[in-house]
Each structure stands twice: as C-alpha cells, then as structure tokens.
C-alpha cells in the first residue's frame, strides 16, 4: 500500500513517520502528478491559508477532487479546513481556497490563539476500544467542527460536546493532531478506509 502526504507546508514528516511505522510506503506529494498510484492521501496540519494558496498555484484543486472521488482522504487541522464545504460564522475567509469535498462546516482558530491551544483525551466512537481507551488529542490553534451534514457524521467530541472529528465514507477530518502523539489508532483507521487488509 502506498499513501501520500501533501507536502506543500506543515507537519508532513510526522505523518510520514507514523505511516512508515505501520509498514506502508509513504511519500511526499508536492505536485499533482505525484497523486498517481496512491491509495490514500493525508492533508497535514500547517497554515491553511498557505496550503490552500500553494494548492491553487500548483494546480491541485481539480486533481485532488478527482482523487477524493475514489480514494481515501484525511485532513488534520489545516487539512480539515481545506476539505470542508464551508467556513462558518460568516467571518472573512481572506480569499482562502477550499477543496469543498466534505459536508462539514468549520470555524478557523475557534478555540482562540496559541495561548489557548490544549491537550485533551477523547472518546472516539469508531475505535473498537474507543470508550475504554481515550485518544490523547493535541489541539493547536485548532478549528471547530461547527456542523456535519448529509452523510458526514461526528466520530469524536470533547467532554462539553464540541465536535472535533468527522467521517464521510472514505474521508476523515480531525481538528487535532494524531501525528503529534504516540497513538497510531487514527492512522490505522485511515489505512483501513484506504483499503489495507486487517
């Protein structure tokens, strides 16, 4: 199995290292032609404005939409914003490009500035041991999942009920950073969505 990580900017090495530790081939994707032959793609955390602008300038938007129509796609933090159909609360998007793939609405930097970045344990509904073994989540200037519509469903919430992860078919979105923890359950789950056996 061969999985790509969009390497325009951000924490892509962390995802690659985690994928390699799970025994799959992981490659950096900087140009659209590098999507060929991949079983899935992760869009990492970083600055969503930077990633969006570079994606537009290097012709990624339509190739990524075509890729997502067949393959597994997972966005963490900035990646989740990039995959969303809309940015909520009517704030200016600063001309921010969106792939507009997933039926989710997100709110950028919704928890506050860096001083409000935090760690919290989550119960994840789609993990076999998700109730008994909480997932250690790291939120960095994180977006909120304001709404999951249509086929998209929320799969993890904070204790106060704030939605922070969603799934829609083969697409996954997390407002936090599983790649910054030592817990690889989200990566394993994504590889299952991408078609990995067992």
């Amino acid at each position: 199995m061969r999985v790509g990580v969009l390497a325009l900017q951000g924490a892509f090495i962390e995802h690659i290292n985690m994928l390699k530790s799970l025994g799959v081939e992981a490659v950096e994707v900087r140009l659209p032609e590098q999507l060929a032959g991949l079983d899935g793609l992760i869009i990492p955390g970083g600055e969503s404005t930077t990633i969006g602008k570079l994606a537009v300038m290097y012709g990624f938007m339509e190739p990524l939409r075509r890729f997502a129509a067949e393959k597994a796609l997972w966005g963490t933090c900035a990646g989740m914003i990039f995959m969303a159909k809309a940015i909520g609360d009517g704030r200016s998007q600063h001309g921010q490009p969106l792939l507009a793939i997933m039926d989710i609405v997100v709110d950028r930097n919704a928890f506050g500035r860096q001083v409000d970045s935090f760690e919290a344990d989550l119960r994840v509904s789609v993990f076999e041991n998700g109730q008994s073994k909480p997932f250690p989540a790291v939120f960095i200037r994180a977006p909120k999942l304001v709404a999951a519509k249509g086929d998209a469903r929320v799969i993890a919430e904070l204790e106060d009920g704030t939605a922070v992860a969603a799934q829609q078919g083969k697409w996954l979105a997390t407002s936090f950073h599983p790649e910054l923890t030592g817990d690889d359950r989200f990566h394993q789950y994504f590889l299952q969505l991408a078609g990995k056996d067992g």
């Binding site: 325009l8 600055e47 930077t50 570079l54 600063h94 860096q114 935090f118 919290a120 960095i140 106060d160």
Partner: protein
C-alpha cells in the same frame, strides 16, 4: 518545567502544544512586517506567520541606538489584520517585555539578538510562560541551552539586516554538523561532550537519539532571495525567517510569494528558476565580512 494551565477544554501551555505550533510552521516562511498593510501582503503571499516589529533589522542597524519591544498598539493592529500566527520580539533577558507580549495574545515570542540585550548574562526563563518562545543560536550548545530554558523553537541566527546569507549558512552548518558528529559518539562520551559545549546532558542525549534538535529549527538572518531560502532548506533546516529581505526589496509582494514557493519546492531547480525570474531589486546588502565584530548582532546572547 513548564507550568501547565487549564481551560474549559483541557490542559493548556504544555510543552507539547508550545512545540506543536512550531511543527505546524515547518516548510514555511515567517516574514518581518512593520505595518498591518505589510502583514496582509505577507499573508496573501502565503507566509505561515508574521513577525510584528517597529523596524526591520536593516533599519535597526542603520538607525543605531537602543532597539526595544515594539509598541503594543502596533502589535494589536497586526494581530487584528491577519488570521495567521503573529510573533513579536522581546529583548534577550527582558522577561517583562515577554509578559507584555503574552498579555497581548501574540502566538510566539522571539527572544531576539536583533534587539538590544537587556541582560548580558541570563536569558528569560521561558518555562514559566503560557506562550511559546523561539530563540536564536549559532551552534548546538547554544541551541540546547535555550531549549533547556524552555524555548519551544530554535532558529539559527545568521546576521540579521545584511541580506548576506553567509552567516545563516555558517550557523546552520555548525548546528547540523555537530548533530551529525554527536550521532556517531558512543554514549560514554556524551557527558564530556555536554560539558564541552555547555549544554544540558539530557538534551544532548535526546538530540543524539532523535538525530535532530528536539524542537523545530528554522534559519534566519540574511535570507534575501528564493535561492537563499532553498539553500537553507537543502542544508536541512525546517523553514525560514525572512526579515528585511522582503519589504526592503523593490517588489515585496512578488518576492514574498517567490520565497514561499521556493521553500516548498526547495528541491526542484526547475521551479526555483521560474520563481526567481524578474523579481526586481533585492534589498541592498551589506557584506558581513565588512562588519566589525561589535556591529554583528549574532554575538549577542551566549
């Protein structure tokens, strides 16, 4: 160690969330800006963060006198103007300037040799702050001392305000070369090495195990062209700071965008050639070799 806090959601101000923001900035360009208008140009060009300051290093160098933390009013305007993280500089050892920057809600404090040091012996004890710090270094020992004090991100110093990349290269090669040599040392030599370079033993050991600094490491000081940025990336840093190089050039918006593209495609000479075309006048440089040592900013801090 770091004093963790709490908000309604979970644990705040842990070292993991401080260092984590720097991880999100990797592969990106952090640009010096002196007005909200420049901050918007930087964001439009794809900067991952802006450094809010009153004067870019080239002007600090030209003006002389004491360089201090910027006016909080100006920093607030820049925070309001952009959605990307905003950094600001405090003088080395000036923990009250850092407290003020924390109160303003800046996302990262740069304890910077570009400003006039407030303390010639001691840097800020950074673990006590809720916001993360980035600090400059010229070698591995200096980098690990700063991390020992709580820095969650490192940048090689270079020589700010010159547009001459030679010191940035020297400092990056020094740090990265020392890490390569450290990886070859047997464990029994690490204590003596820690003593020699004046670094905390635990961090020396961790650096050997990781094969890299325990926190993100950007390059700074003298980067003025897309090729300079790509050079630093190929040498092995995680991203770049560009200070005077953008807004002291003929066409800042175009140059800013070109440096952003060069930082992403640092290994693709075809793209580097395209983005380097027709950028207009670069900043007028100063050869570092013509600067007397007392005018070199990198010698500030230890």
């Amino acid at each position: 160690m770091s004093k963790n806090g709490q908000n309604g959601q979970g644990i705040t101000a842990s070292f993991k969330v401080k260092a984590g923001l720097a991880q999100m900035l990797k592969g990106g360009v952090i640009m010096d800006v002196v007005t909200p208008e420049q901050a918007v140009i930087a964001e439009e060009a794809g900067a991952v963060a802006v450094m809010a300051l009153e004067r870019v290093p080239a002007d600090i160098r030209a003006d002389g006198g004491v360089a201090r933390m910027s006016d909080p009013g100006m920093i607030k305007e820049i925070i309001a103007a952009v959605s990307i993280p905003v950094m600001a500089k405090a003088r080395i050892g000036h923990f009250v300037e850092a407290q003020i920057l924390e109160a303003l809600g800046v996302d990262y404090v740069d304890e910077s040799e570009v400003l006039t040091p407030a303390d010639e012996e001691h840097h800020i004890y950074k673990h006590d702050f809720k916001i993360p710090f980035v600090c400059g270094c010229r070698n591995l020992g200096e980098a690990l001392r700063r991390i020992g004090e709580g820095a969650a991100m490192i940048r090689t110093k270079g020589e700010a305000g010159t547009g001459d990349v030679v010191e940035a290269v020297r400092h990056a090669r020094t740090v990265l070369g020392e890490i390569r040599r450290l990886q070859l040392m047997p464990d029994e030599e690490l204590m003596a090495y820690a003593k020699t370079i004046g670094a905390p033993y635990a961090l020396v050991k961790e650096t050997k195990e990781l094969g890299r600094l325990p926190v993100v490491n950007f390059a700074a000081g003298g980067i003025a062209t897309p090729a300079d940025a790509a050079l630093m990336m190929q040498l092995g840093v995680d991203g770049v700071f560009v200070g005077s190089g953008i807004f002291k050039s003929g066409n800042p918006a175009k140059r800013a965008l070109a440096i952003v593209k060069a930082t992403t495609h640092y290994n693709n000479p075809q793209i580097l050639a395209e983005v380097s075309e027709n950028l207009g006048e670069p900043m007028v440089g100063i050869n570092v070799s013509s600067l007397p040592e007392e005018e070199q900013l990198a010698t500030r801090g230890w």
